[in-house]
């Protein structure tokens, strides 16, 4: 008698399970039409608490793809170790693999992931995927958008992100241009160049770099 009850149960139980599944919502998300469900630990695009950052340099060290480098605010000297705490990370989402190691390394939780899962470019320029710290800043007063690409290039000339983004035969060329630019920058910081000549000379180099970046832009 017990075995008969057991056998009947073994028929009813699976039917109950499948019947329950029949009326529950499907697991599939119709992705392009519906928003994807983002979990708590999702490693999306980065954002930066600008004021929390202490410029320690750990995120650059942790990055396996070398797509983080630092930008100094205007008027600060990178040769002065005491001013390093004012530098902020710029990140190249074109090379980022979203491994989350920079976020793990950050001692203050300044750089963090957002639920945003789409890497977007507003134009066909490769430059759009490289974000300066002002672009990924959370604080409203630090936020900045660049209308002119040359303005953005001026910020990014401090970093090695441009040559990594260009890659291949262009890498060496951009590095040499950047070295020339950095000499000019240091001369300006030392007071050997006045603002106007620095601006003209730097702009010439930046234009060449921008042309190269445009050549390797997204198809």
């Amino acid at each position: 008698m017990v075995s008969i009850v057991k056998k009947i149960k073994s028929f009813i139980l699976p039917m109950r399970v499948t019947g329950k599944y029949m009326v529950t919502k499907p697991f599939t998300v119709m992705y392009p039409r519906e928003r994807a469900v983002v979990k708590e630990r999702w490693r999306g695009l980065h954002a930066l608490y600008f004021d929390k950052c202490i410029g320690c340099g750990l995120c650059r060290m942790a990055c396996p793809n070398k797509c983080i480098d630092y930008i100094y605010p205007e008027g600060l000297d990178p040769r002065d170790k005491k001013q390093q705490r004012f530098r902020r990370p710029a990140i190249d989402w074109g090379h980022c693999i979203f491994c989350g190691l920079c976020v793990e390394a950050c001692p203050t939780g300044a750089i963090h992931h957002t639920p945003q899962y789409k890497v977007y470019a507003t134009s066909d320029s490769r430059l759009d995927l490289i974000k300066t710290p002002y672009e990924i800043a959370v604080e409203e007063d630090k936020k900045k958008t660049y209308n002119d690409e040359l303005l953005k290039i001026r910020e990014l000339m401090q970093t090695d992100l441009l040559e990594v983004a260009a890659g291949g035969e262009w890498e060496e060329i951009i590095r040499k241009l950047r070295e020339k630019w950095r000499d000019l920058w240091y001369m300006k910081l030392d007071g050997k160049l006045d603002n106007k000549t620095w601006d003209e000379k730097a702009r010439e180099i930046e234009k060449v770099v921008l042309d190269i970046i445009k050549q390797i832009s997204l198809p």
């Binding site: 699976p14 039917m15 499948t18 019947g19 029949m22 529950t24 599939t28």
Partner: protein
């Protein structure tokens, strides 16, 4: 209250007759041609309705199976993917006609047509409403299951004609399935026949006006349900097909339109098996407030849903397990059901009709 389905059918028949009248006057055709053309037109119309319903059933099956798998199933073609079956049909129609080397050409080409046409004939024997039936005869239940028994014979010939090991094995498995389901099938129907003392579907449905036979003989209904799954060669009893063991069994060498015909035959059988279950155990057209073909169709689709549900839930037994289930479980249970029917019939006879 009159049956709304009858009204609709009257309108359709009137439309067909009217159109034919105008056509005959316009073309000046002789009068003796009228009756055959009228019958052909009516048959085609109802066949079209059947095919449309089958398209709906296939859609429902895909959708329900998807839901049980936590998927969404078809979504892209048409609203909620409803026209996916039509797209699949068009794909089957334009496929190349492949014919295996050294196969029996006549049997190879005749099999899909024979099986599809045989599978649809029993649909004419079932009364769908109190006034809707194609053919009423005193032995319709016997004829119904006799016609269905023809199919495994043709399947055997088909498998042999295909000149392929998979189709031959599949065909013999279909034969094996036949000998295991045929006896419990007959025994489970016998309960209903004994209780109504009639071999007519119409009388059987009439007898259920007060109480359905699924209440009076649940064991018989259960056995008939399982056995009709075996007869349909649907999962969990898809032993003649057995994907993963012998490809698609006796249909292995068929593609394109020929495969489409087999597919259609499978769903014709699905349709008539659930219609038979509705007529024999679920009270046919009887329902609350009024008697209508709507209730018949509704119950039929609920039976189909249950069959799909069983299909997704259980796995396939081995051929020897199938025979063991059939001979050691189903046949004794069916005989038990017969005993039960004999015991209760004197008490329930006044309730019937």
């Amino acid at each position: 209250m009159s049956d709304p389905v009858v009204e609709i059918i009257n309108v359709v028949l009137g439309l067909i007759g009217d159109t034919l009248n105008r056509l005959f006057v316009f073309l000046g055709l002789p009068d003796w041609l009228y009756l055959p053309i009228f019958i052909a037109a009516v048959t085609l119309t109802f066949l079209l309705a059947l095919v449309l319903d089958i398209l709906f059933i296939i859609w429902m099956e895909r959708k329900v199976i998807g839901r049980i798998h936590h998927r969404r199933s078809v979504t892209e073609t048409g609203p909620v993917g409803f026209f996916q079956n039509i797209a699949d049909l068009i794909k089957l129609l334009v496929k190349e006609d492949v014919y295996p080397a050294n196969a029996d050409k006549l049997m190879h080409y005749a099999a899909p047509i024979l099986i599809a046409s045989i599978a649809i004939i029993p649909a004419a024997l079932i009364p769908y409403g109190p006034e809707i039936f194609f053919l009423r005869m005193s032995t319709s239940i016997v004829l119904f299951f006799a016609i269905l028994t023809l199919i495994p014979g043709i399947v055997l010939l088909t498998g042999w004609a295909g000149n392929s090991k998979y189709s031959t094995i599949g065909a013999f498995r279909a034969g094996l399935q036949l000998i295991s389901y045929e006896i419990p099938l007959s025994l489970s129907i016998l309960g209903v026949i004994l209780m109504t003392q009639s071999l007519d579907f119409y009388r059987v449905i009439e007898a259920q006006s007060n109480i359905w036979f699924i209440v009076l003989q649940p064991l018989g209904a259960f056995i008939f349900f399982i056995v009709s799954l075996m007869e349909l060669e649907r999962s969990p009893f898809d032993i003649p097909e057995a994907e993963g063991e012998i490809l698609v069994g006796w249909r292995t060498e068929y593609s394109g339109l020929k495969f489409g015909l087999f597919y259609a035959a499978e769903y014709f059988k699905f349709f008539i098996a659930s219609a038979a279950f509705t007529a024999l155990f679920l009270g046919g057209w009887h329902g609350p407030f009024f008697d209508s073909a709507i209730y018949f169709v509704l119950k039929m689709h609920i039976v189909m849903l249950a069959m799909i549900w069983v299909r997704v839930t259980f796995f396939r037994p081995r051929p020897d397990q199938l025979i063991r289930i059939s001979y050691t479980k189903l046949i004794p249970l069916a005989i038990l059901n017969l005993l039960w029917v004999v015991l209760i019939t004197p008490f329930v006879l006044p309730v019937l009709y």
